[in-house]
């Protein structure tokens, strides 16, 4: 099954990041008469041609249900689906493909852990530690399970720069803490959390750690064994793959002990009215027909990322962030929200007297796509006393021209509202 990866893996990784833009057909189009300037990859990234082709081939020629048929197409589909799992395993350096559960995305991955692991482990008096910078998908599932089990949800505050308050983390992490769940890279602020350090401390306190990796995957080479996290959740559509697919990585011993959370086909070994036995991992957590095509697309996205030199990628994105931060200084009344020392290429900002929505509409007219609103992180907005921000996020395919067009658009907004 690993044969499929060897031909691409044997090539030296690409250090020429600027050349990658040409791989993305969506970026070649014009919007409102201007070249598209796509600065909303933190919400959802574009797909390279290789991913689009893999999706087309899978759906067009190899489509059948998986794990069920003896016929040729079913075998092909099963092979493609399982080979995608193997590529993901290899990419994040998990020990076994049994540790790679395909889900609909980060949200479903976290719900799975909260319901199955949290639901069976938490009781009154226990605490779940999260942070003030979480996406709603790493807040609400924990609120729901805490409500059900009587456990308490404890958020760790953040500083004015949008960094985790480390002293507060140390103070709030106690022997009551059973689960620590935190975002690796914040979507609203760009903050990169010191994951390895937090995981080490949580383990020392006897807690199990869940990491929301949705925003880390497109920017960092994640190694789950190096991090030593217990669970790691991410989405295909934020790492140049399609929507409808994501991953929950979990350590095998924990996943083994956990009860299934959805029942149906695929997750069982035998069913009778006297009782049902669960399938082995990972099938136990994949009830029903999965999103086969999207899994294959994610496999292709992982192949694409595996060919990239991440030191070069990080340098490229750091240069973009620096250029954008500097040029935003030219805009009257602009203020950056989230100024962590370790920050991914995400620029959240507000402009005095101009609501983020108006900023979004005005730059869109210039072909520039940014995200505006609360970014599914209302506690972050409250913390910084704003209702909404505009957010430009930069991915591997963005360049300095994109940023200059954004600044031009922002200049028009300021002029219009002056």
């Amino acid at each position: 099954m690993s044969a499929a990866v060897t031909d691409s893996a044997s090539l030296a990784p690409t250090t020429d990041i600027a050349s990658l833009r040409g791989d993305f057909p969506a970026l070649q189009q014009r919007v409102h008469g201007h070249p598209l300037t796509y600065l909303d990859s933190a919400a959802s990234s574009q797909c390279p041609q290789a991913v689009i082709d893999a999706i087309g081939t899978q759906q067009g020629l190899n489509h059948a249900n998986v794990h069920r048929g003896v016929h040729q197409l079913s075998e092909r589909a099963t092979l493609a689906y399982e080979s995608a799992r193997e590529r993901v395993r290899d990419y994040i350096n998990a020990a076994s493909e049994r540790e790679i559960i395909f889900t609909r995305g980060t949200t479903e991955s976290i719900n799975l852990v909260a319901r199955s692991f949290g639901g069976s482990r938490l009781s009154a008096g226990d605490e779940v530690l999260i942070t003030w910078m979480e996406h709603h998908s790493n807040i609400v599932p924990w609120q729901m399970i805490c409500e059900r089990t009587g456990a308490k949800l404890v958020p760790v505050p953040i500083t004015d720069a949008g960094e985790l308050d480390r002293a507060a983390f140390d103070r709030l992490l106690t022997d009551r803490t059973k689960i620590v769940a935190f975002v690796h890279v914040s979507n609203a602020l760009g903050t990169v959390n010191p994951a390895r350090e937090l995981i080490g401390k949580a383990h020392a306190a006897g807690a199990v750690v869940v990491v929301d990796g949705a925003q880390a995957m497109p920017h960092k080479r994640v190694d789950v064994r190096d991090l030593d996290c217990d669970f790691y959740a991410f989405s295909g559509h934020k790492m140049f793959g399609p929507t409808g697919i994501g991953v929950l990585y979990g350590k095998e011993n924990l996943l083994e002990e956990m009860p299934p959370w959805q029942g149906g086909g695929e997750m069982i070994l035998t069913v009778s009215f006297d009782g049902t036995t669960w399938n082995h991992l990972p099938g136990k957590f994949e009830a029903g027909t999965p999103n086969i095509t999207a899994a294959v697309g994610l496999g292709a996205a992982v192949d694409y990322l595996a060919r990239i030199d991440f030191a070069a990628l990080e340098a490229h994105e750091a240069a973009l962030l620096e250029h954008a931060t500097e040029r935003l200084g030219e805009i009257d009344g602009a203020r950056i929200v989230g100024t962590a020392a370790d920050k991914a290429s995400v620029l959240s900002f507000v402009i005095d007297g101009i609501h983020a929505h108006d900023v979004g509409t005005i730059v869109d007219a210039a072909g520039v796509a940014v995200r505006t609103g609360h970014h599914c992180a209302m506690p972050v907005m409250d913390r910084f006393g704003v209702a909404a921000t505009a957010r430009a996020s930069f991915a591997l395919y963005n360049n300095h021209d994109d940023i200059d067009r954004l600044i031009l658009g922002l200049g028009q907004a300021v002029e219009l509202f002056a």
Partner: protein, 148 residues
């Protein structure tokens, strides 16, 4: 820029900069909270009735230029109007924002400034929030309206 000027007409920018009837009415008969969960915008509408007349109306909250201007223009237009006339204005504004069939009727007066919103589907809710709050104030029993 031209299309944008159609959306952000001078009247809109002016009402955004200096919203009319901004603040609370202490002895309001109806207080309605409006939220746009998509963007987190919130507004509160205060209405004081005198029989079948909107004697006083005001609003508070945070929002984009479209939603602030829409609230401001609305309060300015309906203050002193009858409830019936106000409800028919609601219908006219709703039509203007959601269908491009007809020219907006003359009765809308300054409210026609909101016509440009029609071309921006993602912004229609910004303009209509205040009006939905108003309708709830005059007809419904709810205390909160949402654009979703």
């Amino acid at each position: 820029m031209n299309e944008l000027q159609e959306l952000y007409r001078e009247v809109i920018l002016d009402h955004n900069r200096q919203p009319r009837n901004f603040g609370e009415i202490g002895d309001a008969d109806r207080v309605i909270d409006g939220v746009n969960p998509l963007c987190g915008d919130r507004m509160t509408l205060y209405v004081k009735l005198n029989g079948a007349t909107v004697q006083d109306v005001s609003f508070r909250g945070t929002g984009c230029a479209i939603s602030v201007a829409s609230s401001s223009l609305m309060t300015e237009r309906i203050k002193g109007a009858s409830v019936d006339e106000t409800m028919s204005l609601f219908e006219m504004v709703h039509d203007m924002l959601t269908s491009d069939a007809n020219e907006p009727p003359d009765e809308l007066e300054k409210l026609v400034a909101l016509a440009g919103v029609r071309e921006y589907p993602s912004r229609v809710k910004c303009a209509s929030l205040a009006w939905h709050a108003l309708r709830a104030a005059l007809t419904g029993t709810e205390h909160e309206v949402s654009t979703e």
